[in-house]
Structure formats: structure tokens, C-alpha cells
């Protein structure tokens, strides 16, 4: 059986007219409308995406700023405390040093002429 010949003989495209101008025009308009709708939908999606991004940023920014401020505060307090401790230590040292009583000494000369100077420990109370 010659398929090819029979197919050609029975080909509907050979018998019928092609897509007529009326249908083609209607189809074209429908397709273009659909493309514009899809485009608008795409823009809307982008807008929605942009809006959600903006919202995220809007929330994120104060959170980041607050976090940074909190970190600064903690660091400041920490440094302050450390400085205070250091200050206290130095001042204690200084006050301790300030409180120092001049060493008590006992000086005498031996019969041979040697001069002896005794310095007493400050905590020795005679």
C-alpha cells in the first residue's frame, strides 16, 4: 500500500482553505491581549516582590540599627566598667600610697664611730 500517495490524496490541507483572515485576526488579537495580561501580571508580581522586599527592609533597618545601638551600649558599659575598675584600683593604690607614713628610723653612733640607722617596719608598733 502506498501510504504517501493516499495520504496526499486525503490531505485535508489540500482540500480546504487555510486559516482565513477573520479567524486569524481574531486569534491574533486574543493572543496579544493574553500577552499583555501576562506582562501586566508579571509587572504586578515584580511590584509585589518589590513591596515585600521594601517591607522586609523597612522592618530590617530599625532592627539592625537597634542591634547596633545595643551592641554599642554593651560595649560602652563594658569599657566604662573596666575603666572604673582600673580607676578604682589606681585610686586605691594612690590612696594607700598617700596614706603611707614616713618610715620611722632610729639613728645612733657606736663608740667606734659607726653611724647606724634602723628603719622600723611600718606595722611594728612599739
Amino acid at each position: 500500500m502506498d501510504f504517501k500517495r493516499q495520504l496526499i490524496e486525503g490531505d485535508p490541507v489540500a482540500r480546504e482553505p487555510g486559516l482565513d483572515a477573520f479567524h486569524a485576526q481574531a486569534m491574533r488579537q486574543r493572543v496579544i491581549l493574553e500577552a499583555r495580561d501576562a506582562e501586566r501580571e508579571g509587572f504586578r508580581d515584580e511590584e509585589r516582590e518589590g513591596f515585600s522586599r521594601a517591607i522586609t527592609l523597612w522592618w530590617l533597618r530599625p532592627i539592625v540599627v537597634a542591634g547596633a545601638l545595643a551592641a554599642c551600649l554593651v560595649a560602652g558599659v563594658g569599657i566604662g566598667l573596666r575603666l572604673n575598675d582600673h580607676e578604682a584600683m589606681t585610686s586605691v593604690g594612690r590612696s594607700f600610697q598617700g596614706r603611707q607614713i614616713p618610715p620611722r628610723q632610729l639613728q645612733f653612733a657606736t663608740p667606734g664611730g659607726t653611724r647606724v640607722i634602723w628603719t622600723f617596719h611600718q606595722e611594728i608598733d612599739l
Partner: protein, 171 residues
């Protein structure tokens, strides 16, 4: 295809694509469907899909993309139809067989070979149509459908055998 590539506006691009390919797609659709109305619906659905998925259409290769989509839509319809027939065997009378009012479709249905062709799955049918009626080469069909040339040869041989079996069974 330079005409289809004109313009950056998607609607413009689609309009150019439509102008460049609608007649060729209609001819293919007409050979894959039992009537002109179904063929028009098939072409329109193909372009509507193109409108919705414009980003996935490769520039410069629009024709192949459109042909593939058209064949896939027809295949989906064919599968749906086959399922419907399996569920409701009486539904065959209301399905895509030629209606008595459609004179042109009835003429086509008279040709045994075309009736045998209608039994084939859409992709196989499309391959036979492209090879036997459009006179396309196997590599060209393979490029259009995005498959291997060996697959095309296999479908051609299988399709011819199935048609011969259908005709000789005296259906």
C-alpha cells in the same frame, strides 16, 4: 526567523511570531485533528501558551518551540480523550470522530489511510505528517521536535506498521 525576533515588547514579539508561523502551524494542526475548528483551537492554545510563557521561547528558534508545544497539547487532548473513552465507551460517538454535519471532515474520514493515521498517538502522527506530507527530512523533524534522529526513524517505521496493521485488520 527574523520577523519573529523584531521588537522588545513581548506583545509585539508575539504578534510577529504569530504572523510568521500561524499558517504553518494551522496546516500541521489540521493534519493532526479531525476538523478545522479543532485545528483553530489547537493553534490558538499554542499561541496562548506562548503568550503566557514568553520567557521560555528561545529567540531564533520559535518555530521549533511552537511545533513542540502544539504536538504536546494535541497529545494531552488525545490522552484525555483516550481516558474518557476507556471510562465511557459510548462517549466515543461524541468524541473527535468526524461529525456528519462537517462535510469536509467526513470527506477526510472516508480515506482509510487517514483513518488509520488518526489511530496513531499524536507525536507519531506528527512525525508521519511532517515526513510524508510536509516533505521534511528526518534531521529537520528531529530538530523541530527536539528528539534524536533515531527516535524519528523508529516512530516512522512503527507508525507505518501500525497503520498497515489497522488497515489490514479491516476496521
Amino acid at each position: 526567523m527574523p520577523a519573529a525576533a523584531v521588537g522588545t515588547d513581548p506583545a509585539e514579539r508575539l504578534a510577529a511570531m504569530f504572523d510568521a508561523h500561524h499558517q504553518r502551524l494551522f496546516r500541521l494542526a489540521r493534519r493532526l485533528t479531525p476538523g478545522a475548528e479543532e485545528a483553530r483551537d489547537l493553534v490558538q492554545e499554542t499561541f496562548l501558551r506562548a503568550a503566557r510563557a514568553r520567557q521560555s521561547i528561545p529567540p531564533g528558534n520559535e518555530e521549533a518551540w511552537l511545533v513542540r508545544v502544539l504536538v504536546n497539547i494535541r497529545r494531552d487532548e488525545w490522552r484525555r480523550d483516550a481516558t474518557k473513552k476507556r471510562i465511557d465507551p459510548d462517549g466515543q460517538a461524541h468524541s473527535w470522530s468526524a461529525g456528519p454535519s462537517d462535510h469536509e471532515t467526513a470527506l477526510i474520514a472516508k480515506t482509510t489511510v487517514w483513518r488509520a493515521l488518526e489511530q496513531l498517538p499524536p507525536r507519531r502522527r506528527a512525525i508521519i505528517v511532517m515526513c510524508e506530507l510536509e516533505g521534511q527530512t528526518i534531521p529537520a523533524i528531529a530538530q523541530l521536535l527536539g528528539v534524536n534522529a533515531v527516535t524519528i526513524r523508529w516512530h516512522l517505521s512503527r507508525g507505518r506498521k501500525e497503520m498497515a496493521a489497522w488497515i489490514s485488520s479491516g476496521s
